[in-house]
Symmetry: C2
Subunit: 372 residues, 2 copies
């Protein structure tokens, strides 16, 4: 059997990620590979750090991209900050809160759960009660934008509560970064990770990450080694430090980092506030069309993510059949429901480059045709 080269079609990606990629990002991706210790590459890495600081709205010196997808970024936060026996309050209102709990357990920590219904934001009152009931908790972990439900939680308020009770915060910003306001320094968040393939419209495979000086201090005061060598950020720091000679940790994913650099240059050129505004406007446009078709949202208006629209599948409609027709006839991908919402909801993404009038128009018309 001889296998041939693979030529994918051009899809419109309006699921929960990967999102539509900027054409310029794909061009950057295929530029000539440099060695990962080449001075020109290191110069690009310094720029990338500045661009990531802008996207995260932080001056944290430790701001990098983990050389692996968002779930490795999540794990980087937990393995570096949680030591065996540490108590972590984990807010769970979807798939990714549950994954945080898994991470705590695998680090030998104790997870205290604050549960909210799928589709609801994290409830600050319940978090405050948990913080009071567990004065020995070290960390509060929550998801800013739940990719499984489309719910936005109030990261600023949750972080304020954590600080008032002497806790660090670990924040999942995979779907929020670049799509809705996220202000790491102003909100005083401690360990925040994201993904390249959501509102940054870069290819999947990298996880932007930032640690506050408080988080770095906690890492430096660890009594036990970090259980992962690959994700031990004290080792990675030596490569990203940008001061003098870089030491080798692992071979950086050079071309993917070109792509992330280009995606962030585009975000810089548009301006963060303008990007947030664009996501909000495209959401309103999509929402009006969906509601006109009688389609209802999973999440209440005040907590709705503009970039991830979870909507109930109309009664009597064949979930898989609709998504298959959209894909085959219109080259349009929308997302299936995940976890508790599997078979009950669709997730329509308007992330980054996907948040455009032409995408909203295509999605509405195609859905209208298919549901007819």
């Amino acid at each position: 059997m001889t296998i041939q080269s693979f030529y994918p079609p051009q899809r419109t990606l309006m699921g929960p990620g990967p999102s539509d990629i900027y054409p310029q990002v794909l061009q950057a991706l295929s530029r000539p590979t440099l060695g990962h210790l080449d001075p020109l590459f290191i110069g690009m890495m310094d720029e990338l750090k500045s661009l990531l600081q802008y996207a995260f709205q932080t001056t944290n010196p430790f701001t990098i991209a983990v050389s692996a997808p968002g779930s490795a970024g999540m794990e980087a936060c937990f393995v570096n900050l949680v030591e065996p026996g540490d108590k972590v309050i984990v807010c769970r209102n979807g798939v990714f809160g549950e994954r945080m709990r898994e991470n705590v357990i695998r680090c030998g920590g104790e997870a205290v759960l604050v549960d909210n219904e799928w589709g609801e934001p994290v409830d600050p009152l319940a978090v405050e009660a948990a913080l009071k009931a567990h004065p020995d908790a070290k960390i509060l972990a929550f998801v800013h934008a739940e990719t499984s439900t489309g719910a936005l939680s109030d990261a600023e308020t949750l972080a304020k509560l954590a600080r008032a009770h002497g806790c660090l915060t670990i924040v999942d910003a995979v779907t929020s970064l670049g799509g809705v306001p996220l202000k790491v320094d102003e909100w005083q968040l401690d360990a925040v990770y994201s993904g390249s393939q959501k509102c940054l419209s870069c290819v999947p495979g990298l996880s932007p990450l930032t640690f506050s000086p408080r988080a770095i201090e906690a890492i430096q005061q660890r009594k036990t080694p970090v259980q992962s060598w690959f994700l031990d950020q004290s080792l990675v720091l030596a490569y990203w430090s940008g001061e003098g000679k870089r030491s080798y940790h692992h071979t950086a994913p050079v071309n993917s980092l070109y792509a992330l650099h280009e995606a962030l240059v585009r975000l810089q050129n548009e301006g963060l506030e303008n990007a947030w505004q664009r996501h909000a406007e495209m959401h309103q446009s999509l929402r009006a069309g969906l509601e006109a078709m009688g389609i209802r949202f999973v999440v209440e208006e005040k907590s709705r993510l503009p970039q991830l629209n979870a909507v109930y599948i109309p009664d009597g409609v064949d979930d898989a059949q609709v998504r298959q027709t959209l894909l085959e006839k219109y080259n349009l991908e929308i997302g299936a429901g995940l976890g508790a919402l599997a078979g009950k909801a669709w997730r329509i993404g308007l992330m980054g480059y996907a948040a455009r009038n032409e995408n909203v128009a295509l999605c509405l018309k195609a859905l209208e045709d298919v549901l007819k």
Copy 2:
């Protein structure tokens, strides 16, 4: 400050990796992104598995690419196979053997070291003695092709010894895969990881990995959960299984996987034996030229890797200055020494697409000019 798009120059990459990338691989990299659950993408992943099985010379059903660099592939082997208290015999004859030891410790295992000098292969007699002295050892771990020194160890003999003493093997094939014979099934290796950016001439960021049925059985018999969620291969398996519906684990690095598919299509079209032969011939050609300049090899002829030529820096020559001139004047990258060989040796790679007559000619003439 406004940061501009990044345009790297075209370098010739003859260091220890990343190696020169096939132009067709860079083209594949920038093809339109598909969703990671798209049926067309899943079809490509099935092909990729077959191609990886060919490259590894195995029929192991568990043959995948880890969504992260080779050091994560290494960690995937250790965290899945080593449980707290397990004894692992680790052969250390360079940087990557030492990294294996680090991994064992971080998994809560006990590492028994078999040391050889840098530049020497692993000594089977010393390994046999260690296996006899530690009948309770569970795993033998060694590096097939030491990227830090250019030494090739006899994986077939070492694996035979391991089996005779009831041990599983973990084998680092980062630099060997595609460059020298590696026969996973014939040699009965158990857990073998590699890197995309060496003799496969793909972009850095992925780690081919294969587990034998014996390794899978050991994973299924674990008494404790795998400490890494991201690298827990029992979870990853559900995505790669290729039987029916794929479940979501993490977002696959879609475009990088296109690139790996293309690199392996090229290897398939050339044929593994022809690729090994080409590496051997280019090595002889480079060797003749280097020896004519009076340059000596670090590794004895019988254990020398054709794809990674570690040579002593001639007396009185300024290491950094030579490498900088090669880079700036000729756009040619050769590698510095690592660890014990830092400042003493260069590492000249002839990996994958870099193993061509034009590269050998450029390297020899440029070195001759610079050393004059």
